[in-house]
Symmetry: C2
Subunit: 464 residues, 2 copies
């Protein structure tokens, strides 16, 4: 007869019985096909109620540790393969988390956003209104391409802000551009060869690598992606950021744009992915028209993100597919669920439709222009002035500087890191090592504390 | 001299000038290297201000349509490749959206959620508190694996609700299980062979197909995935739902679990993906312990989703990686941004930590149990009673029925569709056509209007 000691603790008695019996089965104390005591006998022997042991038997039976025979009782199941060791409590030490950069006070490459710049009170109000007034819509499963109301808001924004004419059915919403790149790879096929700009956005190279995609890193000249290297490459898909290249800041001029469009037109499987990631922040000027809007032959996939224009912690991006690819998407990939929650899709849609997004962009553009000007003024007042050139461009949240120095970039960065200053060389953004330019460094001014900058510039000047 | 007609409309004069000149360049009216009029001359000739034409020239110059020569003026750039046709306004007709099912009144397979069941007021309150009190955290970029506070809340929930011991570093948050499947494929490699249960979750087959992955569909027996077909297959990775198989409802018994774990242990590259998608809704009983928690050898990737337990329109899922794979993830894939916005991560974390998630699950489990019982009672009161068997299981939001009929499943479904009733045969969930069972149908009761059911059952009974 099975006899166990039941404890007077928070664990229900039937779970205690279940655990005792299960352990005896798994450890082999109870043998396969052995008959278990009747419920009444077990209950009397252990001083518990019949209903308690009945619950335990039912649980063991539904998990397959025991089985019932009609009018006979419960028997131990035959479990051929037993676990050898019990699951150990996982120790944290075994998991190696990515190292954090320690002791960095000032990060001149950070694209973090100053929380004061996010329109929290408006966002909170719209979220609240959305939850109060749209409960039915919030529970309706979104189409794969995203909620229509958000796609319509984006369409309207693109028309008024970018002069782009698109159909909401061409717009695909996703949780970040990285996710959308994955959809594009699935859409265009794994057998295609991609190319990106070198130097460029390093994550892109990593993503293509993770998808096992053949990707070439092509040289740039002063107009952007070199047409010569594009023609020499075997690329089918050119993934570029013609409106504000990262990190050089180059804006591709009109003649090169038409050349690249002509390249895409030479073969039916060629496409251009136009990454327009920070076009909203072009200072003082009308935004540059997109490649997408001068493309007459449906060869451009346009991609943009609210993570850049609102906050990197909001994961909403979108792509606009040429009609043929949109049809392919609906045919082959629309079984995927949209990756953005309805709550955020509806909130963002109202934020755009009620004009807050445009106001936010205008405010941020002014803010970034002022930050940039303040920073440049501070550089000009510091000893750095004589030792660097600022490579200005009219857009975005960063610029490059060129340092007049005889030290290697690596040495400069290491010495600055020891002082708590992170400065990233252009060199770091090269995806292949051919033709690397030394002495150029990135300055991102989206979240710099200007009061600390004079001291930082003194330190940089002393080291270079 | 260039002469244009400026209109008194909402388009700024400098944009009008820009458009006129750009069109003349692109269409060839202005020739490459032709000198443009001086700003003063253009302004006088067209009756606009010098500052207006200056802005237009600067915009054209920054886009590369014209170039400046020092002390000489502006010239037309050489644009070798011209667009042949202008971008047409996209017509909607060309895009074929997926067809919607029309005229379906009652969908017996729908897993949509009744909006009344979502805890809107609590969710709204927590969202509001999150935005008010956590503005700094909301702007901090989340680790790739998700915000720590959410991973800790999930860890604690799994400990108390599922008896699982995990380290938050093993938990990876993502925008839906479909997205996480993609990460798993990248993590384990494209060269692996996968297998899933047949019948099974059709989307899974589509996802593996889109990733170009070799995937076998293996037979099931009454205990779940057949060990015989698993051993005969060349699979490295078994993707299964042992706790509540969709759509058959089978719970894998203990002996089969140990057999599958033993299979995984036979080779170092073998893993099991345990999809625990609706385990929260096991009726009346303690949840079945997961494969993950009886796995002694770190061979199980556990995956679950809040889209099932909260609402399909909230896109938050998670996976728990064995330590070795967690390390591989941090080494190779942690460059990816987390796909869930901070706003929802922090809101969900508080929702779990403050006990609302457990309350919600308990409430829903009771609700679904009552729905199921009501439905069964209605079936038993209807003429269907004599014509079908209900294949009960103790879990989830659906069960199977077996119809005694001489008609083909397809015929039954077509006739019902004509009456506005959607009934999906088990047959539809087979991923390969071997061994298809006829006359079984799925009934999902998560969002059925019980008042309409008697009439629906009469119609079904008349047709079969």
């Amino acid at each position: 007869m099975l006899t166990y000691t039941f404890k007077d603790n928070s664990i229900p008695l039937y779970i205690q019985a279940y655990n005792y019996i299960k352990n005896d089965i798994v450890s082999g104390i109870l043998s396969p096909n052995e008959k278990l005591p009747s419920k009444r006998a077990f209950a009397e022997n252990n001083g518990i109620s019949i209903i308690t042991i009945q619950n335990a038997y039912e649980q063991l039976s539904s998990e397959g540790y025991i089985y019932a025979k009609a009018r006979s009782g419960y028997y131990v199941s035959e479990i051929k393969t037993r676990p050898l060791i019990p699951q150990a409590a996982i120790s944290t030490e075994k998991i190696c988390l990515p190292k954090k950069e320690e002791n960095i006070d000032i990060d001149l490459s950070s694209n973090k956003m100053d929380p004061d710049n996010f329109p929290f009170s408006i966002w909170a109000k719209i979220s609240r209104d959305t939850i109060s007034n749209k409960s039915r819509e919030l529970m309706e499963i979104s189409p794969s391409s995203g909620c229509l109301v958000l796609r319509e808001a984006i369409k309207e924004h693109l028309r008024s802000f970018r002069g782009m004419l698109v159909d909401p059915a061409q717009i695909i919403i996703g949780a970040g551009t990285e996710y959308l790149y994955g959809l594009i790879i699935q859409l265009l096929g794994y057998d295609k060869t991609y190319c990106t700009e070198n130097p460029g956005y390093k994550k892109l190279a990593k993503i293509y690598e993770q998808y096992n995609i053949n990707c070439n890193f092509l040289d740039m000249d002063e107009k952007g992606l070199s047409i010569k290297s594009l023609n020499e490459s075997k690329a089918d898909i050119a993934h570029i950021s013609p409106n504000h290249h990262f990190p050089t800041g180059i804006t591709m001029p009109a003649d090169r744009r038409y050349e690249i469009l002509a390249w895409a037109n030479e073969a039916s499987n060629r496409y251009i992915i136009e990454d327009d990631y920070d076009s909203e922040f072009r200072i003082n000027k009308k935004p540059i028209p997109t490649l997408f809007s001068i493309d007459a032959c449906q060869k451009v996939i346009y991609i943009n993100t609210f993570s850049k224009s609102l906050s990197p912690t909001i994961r909403i991006s979108y792509m606009i597919l040429p009609v043929e690819l949109a049809n392919l998407y609906y045919k082959r990939l629309s079984f995927y669920s949209c990756t953005v929650s309805n709550f955020e899709q509806y909130t963002l849609a109202s934020f755009i439709k009620e004009g807050y997004f445009e106001k936010h962009i205008n405010r941020m553009r002014l803010y970034y222009a002022r930050q940039r000007q303040k920073l440049i003024n501070l550089i000009n007042l510091s000893p750095l002035k004589e030792k660097i050139d600022i490579l200005e461009n009219e857009s975005g949240l960063h610029f490059l500087i060129r340092i007049h120095t005889r030290y290697k970039d690596k040495v400069i960065c290491e010495r600055l890191a020891a002082l708590g200053i992170k400065l990233v060389p252009l060199y770091d953004y090269y995806l292949s090592s051919k033709k690397v330019e030394e002495h150029y460094f990135l300055i991102n001014y989206s979240n710099l504390d200007m009061e600390k900058m004079p001291a930082v510039f003194d330190k940089i000047a002393a080291i270079i």
